[in-house]
Symmetry: C2
Subunit: 160 residues, 2 copies
Amino acid sequence: MKFFEDTQVGDTFELSRHTFAAEEIKAFAQRFDPQPFHLDEEAAAQSHFGALCASGWHTASIWMRMLVEAKRRASEEMTARGEPVAMMGPALGFRDLKWMKPVYVGDTIAYRSEVVDKRTSNSRPTLGLVMIETTGVNQNGEKVISFVSTTFVQRKAAGA
Amino acid sequence: MKFFEDTQVGDTFELSRHTFAAEEIKAFAQRFDPQPFHLDEEAAAQSHFGALCASGWHTASIWMRMLVEAKRRASEEMTARGEPVAMMGPALGFRDLKWMKPVYVGDTIAYRSEVVDKRTSNSRPTLGLVMIETTGVNQNGEKVISFVSTTFVQRKAAGA
C-alpha cells in the first residue's frame, strides 16, 4: 500500500496465521482437488502423506485471503492517519510456486512476505514493479509454501 | 498416467472445459479473495475489470479439479484395457504462473497441457521429471492463465 518510492528491497510484512481444520480441508478438496489424501482420513493414512493434508491450492488461496485482509487493514489505518494510499495492481504473475511440506490438520501457517526486487516500468511510467517473495511456515518452523510474485505499484506523481 | 519412457515432449492433453457462473465466482471470493471485483457486480463495474470476474486462484483451482478428474478417467480406462498405470507424484512446483485476461461470468475456459521437457532424476532413479505447460483459453481463443509444472512420473522397471 506504500508508494513505489517508499517500498524498499528488504521490507517485510507479516500476514495473519491460519490453522487448517479437517472440515475446510475436505470442503476445498471436494470442490477443487478431490484426491483421497485431501478428502478422507483413512485413505490419507494409506497414502505417502500419511495423514489428511490440505491441497496446495488451498494453502495458496488462504494466503490470498490474508493478503487482501492485510491490505484492507493497512489502507484503513493509513487513511485514518491522513496518509495517501498507493494503488497496488493485481499480481502480474508468480514464479517458483513450491509446496515443500504437507499442511496437516491442525497445522498453523504463518505467511510472511519480503520485497526482493523493484524496478520502474518502461511501458507505464506512473507505475513501478515490485517483486515479493512470500513464504508460509508451520508451527515447527518448516517452510510449507513459497513463491515470488510481481505486482504493479503506483509511483508518486512527479513533484509530489 | 503413462510411464516416463512413454511420455514424449510435444504430447498434449485436452482437459475438460468449465463455464464460470456468478454464484461460484462470489462463493470462492468470499472464502479466499474478498476483493470487490470478485464479489459484487456493481462494484466490479466500477473497477478496472469492468465486470464481475473470477479470482485467479479460482481459475487455477478449477484446473486442478479437471486434472484430477482426467487422471482418474485415464487410469480407469487403462486398467479396463489391462494396461499398467504409472504413478504420478504431486507437482514439485510451478513456474511462470500468469493470468493474462480476466475470467468473466459465463466465460468457458478450456484447459490444455503439453509436455515441454523431460529428464531422469539423479536422486531418485525409479522416477523421471516431466515438465508440463498448461494453458486455459476462453471461448474467444484468448489465453487467460498459463503455467509450467514439474512432476515426478514413474519409470518402467529395468527390463520391463
